[in-house]
């Protein structure tokens, strides 16, 4: 790991004053240290926002939830309000990485983390995401890569929290010296076709300061599950976030979100359409899962994901609807 200056900040304004000349923000530091240890990131200045107390905590408001960006995944997972009304988010935060990492990683850092492609993460390969001209996954090993939107950089979206937040129509609060703006999660991520090096629309002088989640409509039920190869600590090969707005047994409206399917977390309107106005049954859930794969374009080694996602989706729909327990074979 290269040497760097650590700019220790105790306030937002202090941190904002440091965001220039290539300084990199460090919160929990999990992903950043990983990249630095591998020589992928070599910043000379880290803006340490970890100890800004105002940026941590979960607050219920009349509009919904406001979660400080420095709130850890473990804190979100265990929060009673989140558990009660935003099960999808509790699930997603509670099944990310390892217990230790969930204690360190912040929700802001989780949303901003870099993709998990092994070519990007290896110092042996200089790929598109590092500003070079080539993606190594297409002709290489792509079993964990994207099955949608995979024409430029097929590395998959890494954040499970983002899956939940997209399903909940959440936004992030971005703060700069000029003020604050709110960007919906659906608009937050930049597709690699636009720029493979850029993950999000956050500007160099902005901090992600909070996550804002609207209050769910009455009758909302939600869940998240991820599938990997191992049951303990694994990245998703397929995952599903499901938010159902129910009128009795009838689904008024649904959000079906996939993380490990594409470079940017995506909703599946086709899957959602299969549920809208219908009762949740295994049949409708399976139909939704199947519909979600329309337009999938697997690469040479990840065709199995087209089989996996529908399963992840239908089981998570049934979990959300209370018709099935948590899948013991999902990553825990």
């Amino acid at each position: 790991m290269n040497q760097f200056i650590l700019a220790d900040c105790t306030t937002e304004s202090g941190a904002l004053s440091q965001l220039h000349d290539g300084a990199v923000v460090k919160a929990g530091g999990v992903d950043l240290l990983d990249l630095m240890k591998s020589g992928i990131a070599t910043p000379t200045k880290l803006v340490n926002i970890r100890n800004i107390s105002g940026m941590r905590g979960i607050h219920e408001t009349a509009q919904g939830l406001n979660i400080g960006a420095l709130t850890t995944l473990a804190e979100i997972e265990e929060d009673p309000a989140v558990k009660a009304h935003y099960a999808i988010l509790s699930d997603a935060c509670g099944h990310a990485a390892t217990p230790q990492i969930r204690n360190m990683a912040t929700v802001g850092g989780n949303l901003l983390q870099q993709n998990r492609c092994w070519y990007f993460r290896s110092d042996d390969f200089a790929c598109l995401k590092k500003g070079k001209d080539m993606c190594f996954a297409f002709d290489g090993l792509n079993q964990y890569h994207a099955i949608f939107d995979n024409t430029t950089c097929p590395s998959v979206a890494p954040s499970s929290a983002a899956v939940a937040l997209l399903g909940l129509n959440a936004s992030v609060e971005l703060t700069s010296a000029k003020g604050k703006r709110t960007v919906a999660i659906k608009d937050f991520y930049v597709h690699p076709d636009v720029n493979p090096m850029t993950r999000t629309v956050i500007a160099p002088d902005e901090l992600l300061t909070a996550v804002v989640i609207p209050k769910p409509a009455s009758g909302t039920r939600s869940a998240y599950q991820k599938y990997g190869e191992k049951r303990s600590y694994d990245w998703a090969t397929a995952d599903a976030g499901v938010v159902l707005e129910m009128d009795g047994n009838i689904c008024r409206k649904a959000a079906i979100v996939m993380g490990a399917a594409s470079p940017v977390v995506m909703r599946s309107p086709k899957a959602e359409a299969m549920l809208a106005g219908k009762p949740i049954t295994e049949e409708t859930a399976r139909a939704a899962g199947k519909a979600a794969m329309e337009g999938a374009q697997p690469l040479s080694m990840n065709g199995y994901k087209v089989q996996l996602f529908p399963v992840a989706i239908y089981r998570t729909i049934l979990l959300a609807a209370g018709q099935m327990g948590r899948d013991p074979s999902a990553v825990g």
Binding site: D124, F125, E229, S232, Q307
Partner: protein
């Protein structure tokens, strides 16, 4: 590895020798317990030297041996005070870092170390002239005349030593290597093609280590294909003609890395008359041997210390490149040097379990008798050899004819090294599933068929226990019986390993006037618990609780100890320790006899008390007697003597049953339970033995389902050289494990101990899971790791719910 069988005639002959009426001079005939208590236990005669201690009864009649006192060094391990090589910090110590090859195949044109040398804090740079590990060209004239040829990405090229780790890391990046890159190949299939890039310009061979591994020497080499090494017994062609049923199938297995949690490495301190090396090794003796040879030092001037050691699994023998380079840097700088590999280097450069592509064909009569077994295997040990996997096919069952052809295929990847039961998990994966296929074709129960073709009497008992187990009884003989997407299945597999003894096993035992006793041996404890076992041996002799025994091991200043590979440590060393303890106790009695007013031969030390046979005094405790020693200390040294029944071919083994649930929609296999019945001669410490078997099974599950070294096909780099994408079974992947030990006395030594490491389930888990998978789904899975894509693909080829074979 032992791959030849002793014929019944030879066995009878050896038995006859043992039973001879008049023992040769210096020996006596004793009766020893042999067989399995509750099944076959009986007494057999052995001729043994008269200097040997009395015959040890079976475990139930002993106080400390065969019991499970707490691990001798458990306190140090749970409290964090255990000092591993990785933890050694010496005053002024430098930290070293390797410079690794950045291309998979190249001649090195030049190496410029000037920038690295100039970096403040850098104290030494060393460019490797002679690389250790991997196959060596038979024709020395073909070897590179300058720097060693790069044959895999990550190969060590040079190393730098600096005052701090991150300075060394930065300096390593400043070493400029100019490569003349050559075409490379990292795929086994491609490497077999006639026009494939050649990993070696001519035939090359790799020697094994103290842990086994390595490949045959002198076999033909065609391109990258080193082999075949052919082993033929009888006429296999005729055997297949004689068969009523023939099954033939192909199996393939992946490359697994050892991934010991402590990486390879040493701390070397080169002083003018002594090179001291702390090493994370499975063999202090092997490290001393290699360093002395490499630097032309007398062995007496090389000291190797391994106080604690964080796992090896077969890959840690000899000094290797880290040992040699650290010693070199220490010599250059006059300062101790710490050189431990990082996780990526550990995956790339210090060994792995080779892959395999196997075609196995077995012919049988209607009654199950095997008429012929034929195995053709291709496997890659990277730029090394040792991918042979015919052990199980050769040694598990009785056949009329055998024909095996093992081929190593060179690719541009790090060389393999011995890994826990080399060749056997691969071989058993194919063999044990094929035996089950055969059973199906013969309409026989899998256990009945094995009873018919497996002559080993211990496994027969083990199968009996399995047959009567609730888990086996719960198996539906009809495959694919479950409706729905979760399908349950039960399957079994067997293990076989071979009794090897390392005669370089010696120890000293000391008795002090204060009643304390200590044992000294250079042997290292690699996590198996030999420290505890040695303490138990002394405890049994002196009646002192094991935790009160001082165990000083892991230092070549002590008498030589065996290298811990091939399940030899306990079997090799404990007899030498018991002999030394016995002799020390005799010296002790001689030392106290005058003060006790009697002759030494009137005294007996038993149950922690000194007794007078003639009742000259009331029994006194060992401790009180020790106070009467005529010198402060008595001691005795012993070395291993040959096995009592040396010509007898002993094997160890086990039978494991796995229960799986296959999720046919996700392709995930959940191993729910394993019932494992194993033997390892006399279990010296059953708890530690079971711990090892749990571990073998878990490593086997991890191999079966998760682990895979992945090389990018286009550039030759490993894409998962970490512990995140190189996936090792974790807490939620562990089934309920139930292990039962079968005590099996063989009358071979003064402790009659055997080993467990290799036969601990690591070779049978994948096969048992494979057979359980078939029982669950009706489909054969012939590839590891059995990841969701592999499983879904296998299931997609299956006829719906009707297949039974």
């Amino acid at each position: 590895m032992a791959t030849t069988k002793i014929t019944p005639a030879e066995e009878a002959l050896l038995g006859a020798v043992a039973d001879a009426a008049t023992p040769p001079p210096g020996t006596e005939t004793v009766m020893m317990p042999v067989g399995i208590p509750g099944y076959t236990l009986h007494q057999e005669a052995r001729q043994i030297p008269t200097t040997q201690p009395p015959v040890l009864p079976i475990n139930k009649d002993l106080q400390y041996i065969g019991k499970s006192p707490k691990r001798w060094d458990a306190h140090a391990k749970v409290s964090g005070s255990a000092r591993y090589t990785y933890d050694i910090q010496l005053p002024g110590m430098l930290y070293a870092k390797f410079v690794n090859a950045a291309v998979p195949h190249a001649h090195i044109v030049s190496i410029d170390t000037s920038a690295a040398e100039k970096l403040p804090g850098v104290k030494g740079v060393y460019v490797i002239q002679h690389l250790l590990g991997g196959a060596v060209l038979r024709d020395a004239a073909l070897k590179s005349k300058t720097y060693p040829t790069v044959r895999y990405a990550g190969q060590p090229i040079a190393a730098v030593a600096a005052t701090q780790p991150h300075i060394a890391e930065e300096a390593a990046k400043l070493v400029k290597v100019q490569y003349d890159a050559k075409p490379f190949v990292v795929d086994l299939e491609k490497a077999r093609q006639p026009n494939a890039p050649q990993v070696f310009p001519g035939p090359a061979d790799q020697a094994g280590t103290a842990g086994g591994g390595g490949g045959p020497h002198g076999v033909t080499q065609t391109g990258n294909v080193h082999g075949p090494a052919i082993h033929k017994v009888g006429d296999a062609e005729q055997g297949f003609k004689d068969a009523d049923v023939v099954v033939e199938s192909k199996y393939s297995t992946q490359v697994q890395t050892h991934s010991a949690l402590e990486t390879h490495g040493v701390v070397a301190d080169w002083k003018p008359d002594l090179l001291t090396v702390w090493a994370s090794t499975q063999g202090t003796a092997s490290v001393r041997e290699e360093l002395a040879a490499f630097f032309h030092l007398p062995k007496s001037q090389v000291r190797v210390i391994t106080e604690f050691m964080g796992g090896g699994f077969g890959a840690k023998f000899g000094a290797g490149n880290p040992g040699v380079v650290a010693a070199q840097l220490s010599r250059q700088t006059g300062t101790p040097v710490w050189l431990m590999l990082d996780r990526k280097q550990e995956h790339l450069s210090v060994g792995n379990r080779p892959s395999s592509d196997q075609t196995l064909k077995i012919g049988a009569k209607k009654d199950g008798t095997l008429t012929a077994v034929q195995l053709v295997s291709f496997g890659s040990a990277g730029c090394g050899t040792g991918a042979g996997c015919a052990g199980p096919a050769t040694n598990l069952y009785k056949w009329a004819a055998l024909h095996t052809e093992e081929n190593d295929v060179f690719i541009n990847a790090g060389p393999a090294s011995a890994m826990r039961a080399p060749g056997h998990p691969q071989g058993a994966f194919a063999l044990e599933q094929t035996i089950d296929e055969l059973a199906t074709k013969l309409n026989m129960d899998p256990i009945d068929l094995r009873d018919k073709i497996d002559e080993n009497p211990v496994r027969r008992v083990e199968r009996q226990i399995i047959r009567e187990s609730a888990l086996w009884k719960s198996r539906n003989p009809k495959p694919n019986a479950d409706q729905g997407h979760i399908k349950r299945g039960v399957g079994l597999s067997q293990s076989v390993w071979y009794r090897h003894i390392n005669m370089n096993s010696a120890a000293e035992v000391r008795v002090h006037r204060d009643g304390s006793v200590e044992v000294l041996s250079a042997v290292q404890d690699i996590g198996t618990g030999i420290k505890t076992v040695l303490a138990q041996v002394l405890a049994e002799q002196f009646g002192v609780p094991p935790e009160k025994v001082s165990v000083k091991i892991g230092d070549t200043n002590y008498p030589i100890g065996p290298n811990s590979g091939g399940s030899v440590t306990t079997a090799s060393l404990t007899p030498a320790v018991r002999d030394a303890a016995w002799q020390a106790s005799q010296k002790f009695l001689a030392s106290v006899a005058p003060a006790l007013g009697t002759a030494p031969d009137d005294l007996v030390l038993t149950g922690g008390e000194v007794h007078s046979k003639s009742n000259k005094f009331q029994p006194i405790t060992f401790r009180r007697a020790a106070a009467k020693m005529d010198t402060d200390e008595v001691s005795a040294q012993s070395k291993r003597i040959p096995d009592y029944n040396k010509g007898h071919y002993d094997t160890y083994g086990g039978v494991d049953v796995a229960e799986v649930e296959v999720d046919t929609e996700t392709g995930l296999i959940h191993v729910k339970r394993i019932f494992a019945v194993h033997d390892c001669g006399r279990p010296m410490n059953p708890s530690q033995v079971i711990n090892q078997i749990n571990g073998g099974l878990i490593q086997g599950i991890s191999y079966a389902l998760y682990e895979n070294r992945l090389l990018d096909p286009n550039f030759g780099y490993m894409v998962n050289p970490n512990l995140e994408q190189y996936k090792i079974a974790g807490s939620r992947d562990i089934p309920e494990l139930h292990v039962q030990l079968v005590e099996s006395y063989i009358g071979q030594s003064s402790t009659d101990a055997s080993g467990i490491g290799e036969a601990a389930g690591v070779m049978s888990a994948a096969a048992a899971i494979g057979n359980a998978f078939h029982n669950a789904t009706g489909v054969r899975i012939r590839t590891t790791p059995m990841t969701p894509p592999v499983v879904l693909k296998a299931l997609s080829k299956a006829p719906q719910r009707s297949e039974t074979a």
